[in-house]
């Protein structure tokens, strides 16, 4: 080895400056490999010559069959106060492995399982199991099911979560402030209250952090950068103007084109951005055609609410669902996009009927000055940036589609895309990071903690038990109830916290479903929570955005006025969505 190093040194000295760097790298690599070879090998399990210690393996579950993590498992010898072994169940699957001392006495063993928010459980080992352990074997216990316990912490967490929803619904606090307040109350009660009353403990900070879904955080953040760059190019406004030109003054043709543009844009980007960019230019086009702006903007926003469902990245609720239930980009495309397309056709027929008087109007035509202004407002602002941006975005879409085969997480794809945008399309990092809405990211993190808390204390389990009882093992009925309930609830409260809270509930309900179709309830949640947004003015963020823009333009829309148009649209599209899901999951073979 020393000879090898000496000869490498001589070679480095002889080489020029460039090849010297190269040689130094080779030298360091060789040294590293030599060092690795000198390290003692790690013995494989069971090959250390000392035999395998007797151990007890098992899994801790709740009453729905869901894994219970962080449960403390103690192994006692009867009559002794100190445990001879202990273990903690894994967060992901509830499994544990308690390794016992090598030499066991003939005394009887028992297990104690402790977990906050569950009743303590004691388990005696059978004679055969104890004999196996004394022989140095590992025994595998039957699944240990813990029973929920309602504590003071349960009520605090439940009231905190309901309080968050109410604060958001009545706009008493900013959504982020409301969720942050909820999460803070939960943690404060856990630590300060829990110190005096053990039953007040809800969740530790470490457990709370585990509930934050960083896949969602990174996906949302990266897509903000992508959308932020693309929106600045003026592509949306240009497409709307092209729709105006293509329609040649025929309102229904214009509506169809705008519905298609809006739904596709909402599916690939996000629907709030789509509406913020499409509504102002559509309003101008409506005025240019002498139409009531509502006759263009309302169909657009309904298409935005419906269209976003068709992909993983179309709505925040889909991002949450995809991450939680491991539903990929292609799964959404295959299982929801055809249903969305049918719902959009139904929607167009509906708005054609509602606004039939407006669409029959003959276009008034506008002055050359106004036309020039419209054209100016719809110009592509930076063609070079748009060209590059579309190339990167197209590659991102390919990676999203190919992601399932490559095991490429969608969050990684979006992060790669956002980085490519920053490196190649727009290199001003400061300006680009301004596109990241940190308030929303904090909202998501606090929301995950609040939802994690109600999951910890068992509220989610109780709701799941109730729903399982209502549907009584009838999957079709379960799906129908879920979609309608999600739709109506989403008309009244923000669908993001609702969806986040429902995910573990549906996770419980999905246990034991037909292996071919374990995810249809998640798709039902996606359809219900997003299409329900059309039911009321506050049902979705695009509604609030469109209403704000219409108000600023002097065309206010009241809650009642929206309800008259929106509720039938919601009923029709949700019904279409349910029929599609039933066809997809109960008619087409898995």
């Amino acid at each position: 080895m020393l000879d090898l190093i000496r000869s490498l040194r001589r070679a480095v000295r002889r080489a020029g400056p460039l090849s010297r760097h190269f040689n130094i790298i080779i030298l360091v690599s060789v040294l590293f490999l030599w060092l690795c070879a000198r390290l003692p090998a790690v013995p494989a399990a069971g090959q250390d010559g000392e035999g395998v210690a007797p151990s007890i393996a098992g899994r801790v579950l709740d009453s729905q069959g869901g894994p219970v993590g962080d449960a403390e498992v103690f192994v006692y010898v009867d009559g002794q106060d100190e445990p001879i072994a202990e273990s903690i169940s894994h967060f992901e699957d509830g499994t544990f492995l308690a390794e016992l001392p090598g030499h066991l006495s003939r005394a009887t063993l028992h297990l104690e399982i402790k977990r906050p928010h569950f009743e303590d459980k004691t388990l005696s080992l059978s004679v055969e199991d104890q004999a196996d352990l004394r022989d140095g074997n590992t025994i595998r216990l039957l699944d240990i099911v813990l029973t929920r316990r309602v504590t003071l912490g349960f009520w605090v967490a439940t009231l905190s979560f309901v309080g968050v929803l109410l604060l958001m619904a009545f706009e008493r606090l900013h959504n982020t402030t409301a969720t942050l307040l909820g999460a803070s109350v939960i943690l404060a009660v856990s630590y300060i209250g829990g110190a005096f009353f053990p039953g007040a403990h809800i969740i530790s900070f470490e457990e709370a952090i585990k509930h934050i879904d960083f896949e969602v955080i990174f996906l949302v953040m990266s897509m903000m950068i992508v959308v932020g760059i693309l929106e600045g190019t003026g592509i949306f406004q240009w497409m709307a103007f092209m729709a105006y030109r293509l329609s040649r003054g025929r309102p229904i043709i214009l509506v169809i084109i705008l519905v298609v543009i809006t739904s596709v844009a909402s599916a690939l980007l996000d629907n709030v951005t789509t509406m913020l960019l499409m509504a102002p230019i559509s309003l101008q086009i409506a005025l240019a055609l002498n139409l009531d702006p509502l006759a263009l903007v309302i169909p657009e926003l309904m298409a935005s609410n419906v269209g976003g469902i068709s992909t993983l990245i179309g709505t925040p609720t889909n991002i949450l669902i995809g991450s939680y239930a491991d539903i990929g980009f292609n799964d959404f495309l295959i299982n929801l996009t055809p249903g969305v397309a049918i719902a959009l056709v139904v929607l167009v027929l509906y708005v054609r009927w509602v606004y039939r008087a407006e669409y029959r109007k003959i276009a008034g035509g506008i002055s050359p000055t106004l036309y020039a202004k419209l054209e100016d407002n719809a110009q592509i602002k930076d063609p070079a940036k748009l060209r590059k941006g579309l190339i990167v975005f197209a590659v991102m879409l390919v990676l999203f589609v190919a992601g399932d085969a490559l095991h490429l997480n969608p969050a990684v794809t979006s992060l790669l895309g956002a980085t490519a945008f920053l490196v190649w399309v727009d290199t001003d990092i400061e300006r680009m990071l301004e596109h990241v809405d940190w308030t929303t990211l904090v909202f998501f993190m606090a929301l995950f903690i609040a939802v994690g808390a109600i999951q910890e204390v068992g509220l989610v389990s109780f709701i799941a038990d109730f729903l399982a009882g209502v549907t009584a093992g009838q999957p079709v009925m379960g799906l129908i109830i879920l979609v309608w309930a999600s739709a109506f609830i989403s008309t009244a409260i923000a669908n993001i916290p609702f969806t986040a809270a429902m995910l573990p509930v549906i996770g419980f309900l999905s246990v034991g479903l037909d292996p071919g179709h374990t995810k249809y309830l998640f798709y039902g949640l996606s359809v219900g929570s997003a299409m329900g947004g059309n039911g009321s003015l506050i049902g979705s963020s695009p509604n609030v955005v469109a209403a704000g823009i219409l108000e600023r333009a002097g065309y206010p829309i009241t809650y009642a006025k929206f309800l008259r148009v929106g509720m039938p649209a919601m009923l029709l599209t949700v019904l279409t969505g349910i029929l599609w899901l039933l066809f997809r999951f109960f008619v087409i073979p898995a």
Binding site: M168, E171, H174, N175, V220, M224, V227, G228, E231, G232, D270, V272, T273, L276, L277, P280, I281, L283, Q284, L287, P293, P316, S367, T369, L370, K373, L374, N377, H435, V436, D437, T439, T440, F443, A494, I496, S541, V544, V545, A547, G548, I549, E551, R552, A553, G554, Y555, P556, T558
Partner: protein
């Protein structure tokens, strides 16, 4: 020639305001200066991320609406210009009135349906403009 500053948007209520402003401008032999304040505070009520410069989009929309108002005024034989401002409505009105040295400020009476500008708010603003700037301000 004296200048009349008129706050306006689109919609039926704004058309009535514009018609009244054109009539007053004709009576006084004045020119009209339409103003639209691009206010995007409504996006604070949105729970999802806003990555778009909403004020710029609303500003473009406002320019289009005011261009329509300008054409109406010119067709009625009244010279008209427009300005699109950003930020707080009351402050934008006062600042523009001061900078453009207008002689009269006109506000439209709030419509029957929900409106950003309530009557009481407009009455107070008229008093402020008259008191602070010495410019006549009316609600039509």
């Amino acid at each position: 020639m004296s200048i009349i500053l008129c706050a306006t948007r689109g919609g039926e209520a704004s058309l009535r305001t514009q018609t009244r402003a054109i009539a007053i401008a004709k009576e006084r032999g004045a020119s009209l200066l339409y103003i639209f304040v691009a206010d995007a505070r409504f996006i604070h009520n949105v729970s999802e991320a806003i990555v778009v410069d909403a004020e710029t989009e609303i500003e473009h929309m406002g320019e289009f609406l005011l261009l329509m108002a300008k054409e109406r005024a010119e067709q009625a034989g009244v010279a008209a210009e427009y300005v699109v401002a950003r930020g707080n409505f009351a402050e934008a009105m006062k600042q523009t009135a001061r900078e453009r040295r207008v002689d009269l400020v006109i506000f439209g009476s709030p419509g029957e349906e929900s409106s950003v500008t309530q009557l009481k708010f407009l009455e107070t603003l008229c008093q402020d403009i008259t008191g602070e700037l010495g410019i006549e301000a009316v609600i039509v």
